[in-house]
């Protein structure tokens, strides 16, 4: 009996899994060049905002009345605004605020959404109640929900973060619940149960790891949504306080000078677009990479 198997194994030569992993990483880089570029761009953006004090010539709120509305020049690469503040400095410091908000919202909503989604997907009783709640929250368009909540609770960084997280949690719950429902049907969950494993063990040790790819992908997308949403809210005057530099706030200031000082809107706008674009491209790459249907090919 072992004879028939010896040959079975011998003719299915499998390489060392570690090697497979390393080789796979090489393939990933070769197959997803855009994802790598986007990832590098993100790293640069983050690095540049962190190093803002070193890169900017001026403080973001330093008012120089004599330098009002100056176009891009050697002294002010991105030009100055209506109060003579350096746009480059404001864009860099604004990036800190915007990225921070995006990151925290992504972490909060994905974290909360994952826990709720897991429980909802696994226990049918919780499912009935929570999903009605989720549907109800989803019945409100995202920005309208956020604006009305912030409008009532008062603007501020904390409020924006909390409100945006509440807006995105139901979306994450849906996605996670979807994957849990699929995994719950796969045979290995039954196998584990038949083996004698307890339900919480199966949920956290077996089901959760399978939800990690959608979780990661969702996190990258919500990061980008949140940056867009924060910019939108601040632009509408219901976001973070005007004295804190953020990409949305800089753009709000630029509205009145649209025709006279184009640099006021172009540079912060490009910063948002580039950051969100990199996040989206990176997220797309991650999704393709983690998609089980594409894995075996």
């Amino acid at each position: 009996m072992s004879g028939e198997l010896e040959s079975g194994v011998a003719f299915e030569p499998l390489s060392d899994p570690v090697l497979v992993g390393r080789r796979r990483l090489r393939h990933v880089i070769a197959d997803h060049p855009s994802m790598i570029v986007a990832g590098l761009a993100l790293l640069i953006i983050v690095a540049v905002t962190i190093l803002a004090p070193l890169l900017a010539h001026a403080a973001p709120d330093q008012i120089v009345v004599t330098d009002r509305l100056k176009g891009p020049s050697g002294a002010h690469l991105f030009g100055t605004d209506n109060l003579g503040r350096d746009i480059l400095a404001r864009t860099l410091y604004g990036g800190r605020t915007s990225l921070k908000i995006g990151l925290v919202v992504a972490l909060l909503s994905v974290g909360g959404g994952t826990v709720i989604g897991l429980l909802v997907g696994f226990y049918e009783i919780v499912d009935m109640i929570v999903m009605r709640l989720v549907d109800g929250l989803m019945a409100l368009p995202a920005l309208i929900l956020a604006i009305s909540m912030i409008g009532v609770l008062g603007a501020g960084i904390t409020t924006v973060v909390i409100c945006l997280s509440i807006v995105y949690v139901p979306r994450v719950v849906r996605v996670i619940r979807g994957s849990v429902l699929i995994i719950r049907k796969s045979t290995f969950v039954d196998d584990e149960r038949a083996l004698g494993q307890s339900e919480p063990y199966i949920l956290f040790r077996h089901v959760l790891p399978h939800c990690m790819s959608p979780v990661i992908v969702q996190a990258s997308f919500i990061f980008s949504y949140a940056i867009l949403a924060e910019a939108g809210l601040s632009f509408l005057g219901v976001g973070i306080p005007v004295d804190v530099p953020s990409w949305g706030n800089i753009l709000t200031d630029s509205r009145s000078y649209l025709t006279t000082a184009w640099w006021m809107s172009i540079f912060p706008g490009l910063a948002i677009a580039l950051t969100v674009l990199s996040l989206n491209v990176f997220g797309d790459g991650l999704r393709d990479l983690l998609d089980p249907r594409l894995q075996e090919r």
Binding site: T187, Q197, P209
Partner: protein
């Protein structure tokens, strides 16, 4: 269209010569078919046989012109003398339906979900025969009538999801035949159907195809099906044709070791004491093709000569074979089937001393279904009684929807029973809850069907093997790894598996791991639900043999569930036949197979494809 061409080819409907299909890949081309040649004559049925991954379906797609556009096709495919590979994509496409009709394996996914049956059936005739809508609908009704759906059952305005599986396959067949093509290609047309339907549909396929004057190419993994429906057969292995000839001749006197091996791997009626003949290993993957004879690594008679590739050459009696050492004529079948005898089975012949290990009484399970306001209660299992003796196998056989899996899940306590008693190992199983139930679980384990889904794909085999030992605290922790390796060795694997992930294993290897895991806590009962149905014949035989060996060694009882009567007969000491949630007949294999009392059992038995190579 055949009249234009010279005399030599006019007698064939289809000539495939040296067909080679290559998929260009960034990391090297993959050649999926190499020099495939065969012919189909008018009115003839040709079977393409082989295990999955051998290139049967790809051959069919090449002939039908349905290959993805990025793959390279070399060689020649002639339909009534017309060279298909020379046609443009559009010209080629236009032949589909008109000259070549296709029947696919799973009719539910092959039929369009939101177009009506009538719409789908009339498309062909309206396009190829220029019929009006009305005329095309008439023709469609005609065709449905010919495939056994009476005109009174007007289903032109229905949709695929409203029909039963058998109905759908009839519609598929009608769709393939409606333009009266020269050639019908049927790709595993009965595999997705229940046993009793398989025979009917196969017969229908054969007769209606001949009826419209078409030739048939039947793709199947089942040698019984070929012997039942085909005049000639072509055996494929790893992208090669390895044997071709008259179906009867090849089946009674296979000349290639692979063909013979396939036949030996099928359990035969009345032969259940013998071990199954197996072919070692599995079909090689495309990127790991052995050089020389591709079957050599799995062949018992391979030698130095097999390092170079043999040619497909005629033997003395028109059978073509691609082998340096073809099996001799006349004694081929005998040689194959003269496998070692199994030692006499101690357990089954001895009268069981104690009481039954598992005793099921009046087991019942209801499900609610339907819209919220008109909820219906459907009984999936309607009061089932059976016993399993220690160390014995109880085989539960039935068609899909018969409730056999529900029984398994209730016995495993994965779902609750609506009513009834399960006594296991002297205790009431239905009374156990929570921790007590989980503790008891070490005595009854499960092996499920899906070799892909049954193991958590994100854990290494080592980790998966460790789980039962840790969970049930089987000996000191320091011994768990060694115990895992011992269990893997019991199922014919070794320690090199520990670091691999399930997707790096073949289907058969995965199923072995699942069995090793189930055996680890030394259970008294293993519930195996369709444990071998997803495996190829040769691998299935390996696993079945192994399960029998393990039963002898570990004195474990099986509740073995399958839709396949031959497999059930091979494995079981007692057999239960299920239909519509009821156990219609219980008895020993001899009772069931030679003296079936219930009409349904007889029906099931008569639906098994014939095994002409059986010795009795």
């Amino acid at each position: 269209m055949g009249e234009t061409v010279g005399s030599e080819t006019t007698e064939s409907v289809l000539d495939v010569e040296n067909l080679t299909v290559t998929f260009p890949r960034r990391r090297g081309d993959l050649t999926a078919l190499t020099d495939v040649s065969f012919h189909v004559r008018p009115g003839e049925a040709v079977g393409l046989v082989g295990e999955s991954g051998c290139g049967k379906s790809l051959t069919a797609l090449s002939v039908a012109g349905l290959l993805p556009s990025d793959c390279r096709v070399d060689g020649s495919i002639r339909l009534r003398g017309t060279e298909l590979t020379a046609l443009s994509r559009t010209e080629r496409r236009a032949l589909g339906g008109k000259e070549i009709g296709m029947v696919f394996q799973d009719p539910l996914s092959a039929l369009h979900p939101v177009l009506s049956i009538g719409d789908q059936l009339t498309e062909g005739p309206r396009r190829h025969l220029g019929l009006s809508r009305r005329a095309a609908r008439d023709r469609a009704r005609d065709m449905l009538d010919r495939v056994g759906i009476p005109r009174t059952r007007n289903l032109l305005d229905e949709y695929a999801h409203q029909l039963s599986g058998g109905m759908r396959q009839r519609v598929m067949l009608a769709m393939a035949l409606i333009c009266e093509p020269q050639l019908v290609i049927a790709d595993e047309p009965t595999t997705a159907l229940d046993v009793t339907l398989q025979a009917q549909i196969l017969e229908l396929l054969r007769t209606t195809t001949m009826d419209v004057g078409a030739s048939l190419v039947l793709i199947t993994h089942d040698l019984g099906v070929v012997s039942q429906a085909c005049d000639r057969m072509v055996v494929m292995y790893a992208g090669h044709v390895v044997e071709a000839g008259r179906a009867r001749t090849v089946i009674t006197e296979p000349r290639h070791h692979y063909t013979a091996g396939l036949m030996g791997a099928v359990p035969l009626p009345g032969e259940r004491r013998r071990r199954l003949q197996t072919i070692a290993g599995t079909v090689p993957q495309l990127d790991r093709m052995p050089t020389g004879c591709r079957f050599a690594p799995r062949c018992g008679s391979a030698d130095e000569a097999c390092r170079t590739e043999p040619r497909l050459e005629p033997t003395d009696e028109a059978t073509l074979v691609k082998c340096w050492h073809p099996l001799p004529r006349g004694r081929a079948v005998a040689a194959v089937l003269a496998a070692e005898e199994r030692p006499a089975e101690g357990v089954s012949d001895a009268v069981p001393s104690e009481g039954p290990l598992l005793s099921v009484r009046g087991l019942r399970r209801e499900f609610t279904s339907g819209p919220a306001l008109r909820r219906k209660v459907v009984a999936a299992v309607k009061g089932v009684d059976f016993d399993i003796q220690p160390g014995e196998t109880f085989g539960l056989v039935g068609e899909s929807g018969s409730g056999k899996s529900t029984v398994a899940r209730m016995v495993l306590r994965l779902i609750g029973a609506t009513d009834g008693q399960i006594t296991f190992d002297g205790g009431d199983l239905t009374a156990l809850r929570g921790r007590a139930l989980r503790r008891k679980r070490r005595d009854f384990q499960m092996v499920s069907q899906d070799p892909y889904g049954a193991l958590n794909p994100r854990m290494t085999i080592g980790h998966l093997m460790l789980e039962p030992f840790r969970l049930h605290e089987l000996g000191p922790a320091s011994t768990w790894r060694d115990q895992s390796v011992t269990m893997l060795e019991e199922v014919g694997l070794n320690a090199s598996m520990l670091r691999r992930y399930p997707h790096q294993l073949s289907g058969g290897q995965r199923q072995r791991v699942a069995i090793a895991r189930a055996l680890a806590p030394k259970p008294k009962l293993i519930v195996a639900d369709e444990a071998v149905s997803a495996l190829d014949v040769s691998v299935q035989a390996q696993v079945l043999n192994m399960m029998k060996d393990l039963q002898d060694r570990f004195q474990v009882a099986y509740l073995f569930i399958s839709h396949d009567l031959s497999v059930i007969e091979f494995m079981s000491h007692q057999i239960g036949v299920m239909r519509h949630g009821e156990l219609v007949e219980v008895g020993s294999p001899t009772d069931i197979y030679q003296n079936a009392q219930h009409q349904y059992t007889q029906e099931l038995l008569s639906a098994i494809p014939p095994v002409p190579w059986a010795t009795r």
